[in-house]
Every structure is written in structure tokens, then in C-alpha cells.
């Protein structure tokens, strides 16, 4: 009896020993499409410093914050993990490392700073939201994209292209999709975000503040926004409008079947990878971005870091900070920009991404014509649980502009109240 107990004890202790292995870093990445590139990044870092970085990628509809909460409960937190905005960072208030003293902070303006002034988010890419267009088609149709800064100009351009649809080989003028189950994020986050920030200075939070204050919408501005959505509904591909998918939307745009598409710069990666054949067949046309000009004079596209890497405050914090510093430097940037296709938020970066939208983003950035993404701080789940369906309802023809404005006003107020 006693002997058996001793054996058990010895076994248990041995198991305990082997579990306390040496410290490696673990990074939870929210962009599944760059999983392989980040693993290359980790391998390069290991070669240089001997520190192994485990890349754990999540995406494709997985609720990352929910999974991370599970990890936290199970005492299995990664050392570095992705956070998408104020609501995400608020979850981890007091549990993250302040990186204010790091060298990379002086090299960028895109770091995430929390309410107490601490730098808690490391930016790794820049994305842009704008009305993406096929420059070749616009040129053939005789539309100057630089002039698309008023609702009237937008309407005129749509009509002009619609009239020559067949000559240009187009299915529809615009690929706008308001499907609410899988694409709520496009309408409810990005396009709704245009209402919040379109045309505003980067630090202007007028409409975001109104929304945060009990879900209020500015009726005049939102009505103009709704008129633009009505225009999209009218000229979008009916096969895509209510029941399409993201893949369909991007494939058709890459095949040159739409002149415009209501997606942001991230589609560049899809066009040059998954849809490369169709894109090549359509002549690898030049792309660009116009502002969503629903009010006269809107001439900005919206650029931001879509999410940040945060360092969890544990024993590995110093190593994690060193890794992030390395990522912001020459070797790390080369892999992140040239392989992962990220558009660098760091001033010292000398690499240029091969992304089709890289050029247009740098033009807008250089001209100072960018607005921020305050929708990142919208109440959690707003797009999925409230807004997406209203966009779909509007697209399905169940309401007019006034009805859409009214429903949105009601839905936002309700969501912020409950």
C-alpha cells in the first residue's frame, strides 16, 4: 500500500517537473490569412535570438475575445495577443504591459493608447476603407475618380457607367452586399463607420460621441448617408445584394465585373492570392479608392490600424517587448511588409508592399486626406446584433430612405440602452 503511494507520489512529482519547461513566447494572431508569413517571421526571430515564438492564428468567424477569456480562466494566456479596439482593451484593463518606454513608439503614430495614457497596443498594419474602384473601367467610361467628392458626382458617375454597362462588360456598377449573417461586418462596421468618420479630421469624434451617448444619430448627416446607401442598393448586382458572399463579391470585382466595390484595402490580398487567376484574366487592372462622398466635400478615405498586439503582464513580458521591438525594425518589417503584405505604420520602414491598394493609400496619407476608424470603439456586437439586419432590410426593399433612417435611429438607441 505504502509502496504504491510512494510510486504515485514520485510519478506526480516527475510530471510536475516536466511541465515547468523553459519560457517560449506565444502570440495569438487574429489574421488567419497571414498565418504562414507570421510563422516565417517567428522562425527568423528564433534564428537570430534563440527565442521560440509560437504563432496561434484565429479567424474565420471565431470569437477571439471569447476564446481569450476562456484561456484566461484556464490560466493559459498567450504572451502577446490581438485586440481590436477600446472595448477589447477594456476587457484586459490592468492586465496589460505599458510599453510607453519602447523605442518603436517614437517611430509610429498608430500605437494604441488607453484611457490612462499608457501605450498598450503595438500596431502592425494599416488598412483603408474607401469606395474601391477599377481604374481601367472608370477611364474607359470617361469618369474621373478624382472628381467623385460630391453625392451628385457619384450619382452622375453611376448613371454614366450604368448606361455603358454592356460595352464595358460589367454585371453591375457596384458590388455592394448587405447580407446580414456572414457579411454584417462590412455594412455594420465599415460602411456604417463612414457615417461616423467620413470627411472628418482624424481626432474629430463628433458623431462617434453622439453615438456613444445613448446611440444617437445625427438625422441630417445620416439621411444623406442613407441616400448614398439607396444609390448602392439601386445600382448593385441583384444576385449579390441580399444573399451574396464575400468570396463572390471579391471574385466578381477581381474579374472586372463591377466598376466599384464596397470593401476596403484588405481585398488586395484576396485579389492577388485566391483570385489571382481571375484578376490576371481581367488584365491585372489598376485599382484605387474614392471617398464615400455622401456629403459635399468629403475627400478623405478612412485609414487605421485595424487591431493591435498587446502584451499580457506575466513573467515573459520583457521577452515579448523585445520581440515587438524587433518586429518594428528592419528585418521584421521586411517580412511583415513584403511577405504578409502589411502596410507599415512605422515611419522608418523602407519596404513597399506589393498590394494593389498600397499606392492609393500612400497618396491619401501623403496628402493628409485620411480619417480615423472610430467605429472600432462602437459598443461591442453592434454590427452583428443590430445594424447588419437593418442594412439587409433596406437592401431587400422593405423600407425607403426615411424608413431606414427611422429604423436605424431606433435600433441604435435600443442597443445602447440595453
Amino acid at each position: 500500500m505504502k509502496k504504491q503511494a510512494l510510486v504515485l507520489l514520485a510519478g506526480a512529482l516527475a510530471a510536475g517537473m516536466s511541465m515547468t519547461a523553459m519560457a517560449d513566447l506565444r502570440l495569438v494572431n487574429g489574421k488567419i490569412e497571414v498565418d504562414a508569413m507570421l510563422k516565417d517571421l517567428a522562425a527568423a526571430y528564433e534564428e537570430e535570438t534563440g527565442v521560440h515564438v509560437e504563432i496561434e492564428s484565429m479567424g474565420g468567424g471565431i470569437d477571439i475575445q471569447g476564446t481569450l477569456k476562456g484561456y484566461y480562466q484556464a490560466d493559459n494566456m498567450p504572451d502577446i495577443f490581438v485586440n481590436g479596439g477600446a472595448t477589447d482593451f477594456a476587457n484586459w484593463d490592468g492586465l496589460l504591459v505599458d510599453m510607453s518606454g519602447e523605442a518603436w513608439v517614437d517611430d509610429t503614430e498608430a500605437e494604441y493608447i488607453d484611457g490612462n495614457g499608457a501605450v498598450v497596443g503595438f500596431p502592425y498594419t494599416t488598412e483603408a476603407i474607401g469606395l474601391a474602384y477599377n481604374a481601367d473601367i472608370l477611364e474607359k467610361a470617361g469618369v474621373d475618380p478624382a472628381a467623385l467628392t460630391t453625392p451628385a458626382a457619384l450619382q452622375e458617375a453611376f448613371e454614366k457607367i450604368d448606361a455603358q454597362k454592356e460595352d464595358l462588360g460589367l454585371t453591375a456598377v457596384i458590388g455592394y452586399c448587405a447580407e446580414a449573417v456572414n457579411l454584417y461586418w462590412s455594412t455594420g462596421n465599415h460602411i456604417f463607420g463612414v457615417y461616423e468618420d467620413g470627411g472628418l479630421a482624424r481626432d474629430d469624434t463628433t458623431y462617434f460621441d453622439m453615438l456613444s451617448d445613448g446611440g444617437k444619430l445625427d438625422e441630417e448627416r445620416f439621411t444623406k448617408f442613407a441616400e448614398m446607401i439607396a444609390l448602392f442598393n439601386q445600382y448593385s448586382d441583384p444576385a449579390l445584394l441580399v444573399s451574396g458572399t464575400y468570396d463572390q463579391q471579391i471574385l466578381n470585382f477581381a474579374s472586372g465585373k463591377y466598376a466599384f466595390v464596397t470593401q476596403g484595402s484588405w481585398i488586395g490580398a484576396t485579389m492577388t492570392a485566391d483570385d489571382a487567376d481571375a484578376y490576371a484574366a481581367a488584365g491585372n487592372f489598376k485599382v484605387g479608392m474614392a471617398p464615400y462622398a455622401f456629403v459635399d466635400g468629403i475627400d478623405t478615405i478612412m485609414t487605421n490600424s485595424p487591431s493591435w498586439w498587446a502584451v499580457f503582464n506575466n513573467d515573459n513580458a520583457e521577452e515579448a517587448k523585445a520581440f515587438l521591438q524587433w518586429c518594428s525594425e528592419d528585418k521584421g518589417q521586411q517580412i511583415l511588409v513584403e511577405q504578409a503584405g502589411f502596410i507599415s505604420p512605422f515611419a522608418s520602414c523602407k519596404y513597399v508592399a506589393s498590394d494593389p491598394f498600397a499606392e492609393t493609400i500612400s497618396e491619401y496619407t501623403a496628402a493628409g486626406k485620411t480619417s480615423a476608424w472610430h467605429w472600432l470603439n462602437n459598443k461591442e456586437g453592434l454590427a452583428q446584433n443590430a445594424l447588419g439586419v437593418v442594412f439587409q432590410d433596406f437592401a431587400a426593399g422593405n423600407m425607403d430612405v426615411a424608413g431606414f433612417v427611422q429604423a436605424m435611429t431606433q435600433v441604435c438607441a435600443q442597443y445602447y440602452a440595453g
Binding site: 510536475g16 471569447g66 484586459w92 446580414a180 449573417v181 446584433n385 429604423a407 440595453g418
Partner: protein, 349 residues
Amino acid sequence: MGTNEQGSKGLSFILLAAGIVMTIAALGLDITGSSFAFRGELLILGIVLFFIGLYMIPTKKHHRKIIYFIFLFPLLFTFAVTVIIPLVLGIGYSFTDWTGIRFTQFVGLSNYTSMFKDPAFIWSVLITFLFVIFNMILVNLIAFLLALLCTSTIKGIGFFRTAYFLPNLIGGIVLGYIWQFVFSNVLISITKTSWLSQTKMAMVAIIIVYIWQYAGYIMLIYITGLTQVPGDVLEAASIDGANGIQTLFNIKIPMIASTITICTFLTLTSAFKQFDVNMALTNGAGSVPNFMGNYLSNGTQMLALNIYNTAIAKNSYALGQAKAVLFFIILACVSLIQVRISNKKEVEM
């Protein structure tokens, strides 16, 4: 003998005491969040020592009880860790402002009151009940008809049984995505706009998919029931000149009454817990223009999905927990009624 027993007694008490101290110390270390890595081993060691001590207590009178307890312990422990403790914690969390990471204060019943003030939640409860009623009737009806077909003498019975049962072997998420494709890409040529984008038709779609998934399973139970109807009774009926319909209503259905009860409750509880098909097919989307004066955007969101979205997507873990407690109470009531009715039937038989 005397000294031996004394020694054994002393040893057993030492082991018992050491075991208890080690267990408490390990739990204490865990609660205070100590980084002492051996606390797990300490806990196991403590429990093992405790049981060795318990086993060695020199008593004839209670020996049997001690043995029973030692044998039952692993099961009781597992049950407590996986069912009882989470249930108690869950109910506890529903009175706090828990975020999934930590909670700062107790909020009393406010989660429960805000839940009933939320039209979206009331809508979810209503459509869940509607869905349950529709399903209970339709699944049983269709399953019973299929069972009749599959116990008749047509050719290829084996094939039909397998074919009807097959959808049940596909997971709900996969099934949801398959049917999403069917509704949005195939049937759209007939329906013009996708059923899934209109709330009422989306509900119909969910019911159709659910029947498709579940009827085969219930059919199998009915087949078992029908094949157990004694042959001599059926033979007697046919000698007395009963036709097929009379045999069905007067002989077969009364004979399988207990099967019908079982199937009814099976469909009832599983329809209440409907989650995966709902999530994959519509994810709760659907517009309701005017419900209690509000525009709702969760037209097809049933109770289980509502709880999940409240906790995960809206990040209100405590509110979601409160809704889950209500859900538990509803299901517990249904199960209790089921047990009572089944017991009554058994007595009558």
C-alpha cells in the same frame, strides 16, 4: 494485538490529518494565486493520503461504509466538478456584473429585471415556444409516417431507413451551411429573394432543416415501437376483418403509446435547445418592424442562441448567465413533467 491496533490507529490519524492539511494548503495556494508549481501534486497527494488514512481506520462497524465512500468518491467528485460546482457558480455569477474575466460587484436581481425589459429577449422566448410547438407536432407526424413506410413491405426498406436516418449523422453546423447554400443559391431561382433574408420565411427554413435533421432519428424509435407490436394481436385483428386504417388507429397507436410519449419529450427538449442549425443558417438575423414598439434585428434568434450572443457577442456574460438560469428552469420543468407522465404510464401498463 492491542499495540498493533493502537499503532495502526495512530498512523491512520496521522495520515488523515496530513492529507487534510495538504489538501487545504493546496487549495489555499490555488485561491491566492501562488506560482508554486507543485500545488497540483500537493492536492493529489493530500487526497490520496486522506484515503489511505481513512482505509486504515481500525473499525469493524463503519468499515463497509468507508469502503462504499472510497469507491463512490471518484464519481461524486467528477459529478461535483463538472455539474454541481459550475451550476452553483453560474447561478452566483448571474447576480454579479461578471465580464468573463472578473466581476467588481454584486448587482442583485438587476440582470433578471433587465432581461424581461428587453423586447429582443421576449421575442426570442416567444419564437422558441412557437418553434417547439411546430416541431413537436411536425417532427412526430413526419417521423411516424416515415416509420409506417419503413415497416411496410415495399422494396428497398434498408435503403430508405438508412437514407432517412443519414441527415441525423451530419453535424448541425455543417447542415446549416449546406442548407444556407440551398436557400441562398439554389432555391433563389424559384423564390427570387432568399428565404433567409425574410424573417418569416427564415423561420420556416429553420423548421424545415430541423425536421430534415431530426425526423429520421425519431423514425428509428417509432420503428422499434411498431416492430414490437405483437404479431398475434395483429393477426387476430385481421381475422376479425379490421382494415389497415382500423388496425392503425385501434391497435398499433394504442400499443405504442409509451413510444409516442418518449418521442414527444425527446423532440420537445431538443427543440428547446436548438442552437447549431439556428446559428449556421441565419445566426439569428431577421428584421421585425414593430414588436412592442421596437424595431428588432434578431427576428430568428432562438433562446439558446440569444444566450450565447448576449454573453459572447455583446460581452454581457452576467446577463447571459441570468438568461441561462431561466433557460435551465424552463428545461427542468419540462423534464419533471416528462418524468411524472412516463411514470404514470408505466404503472398503467
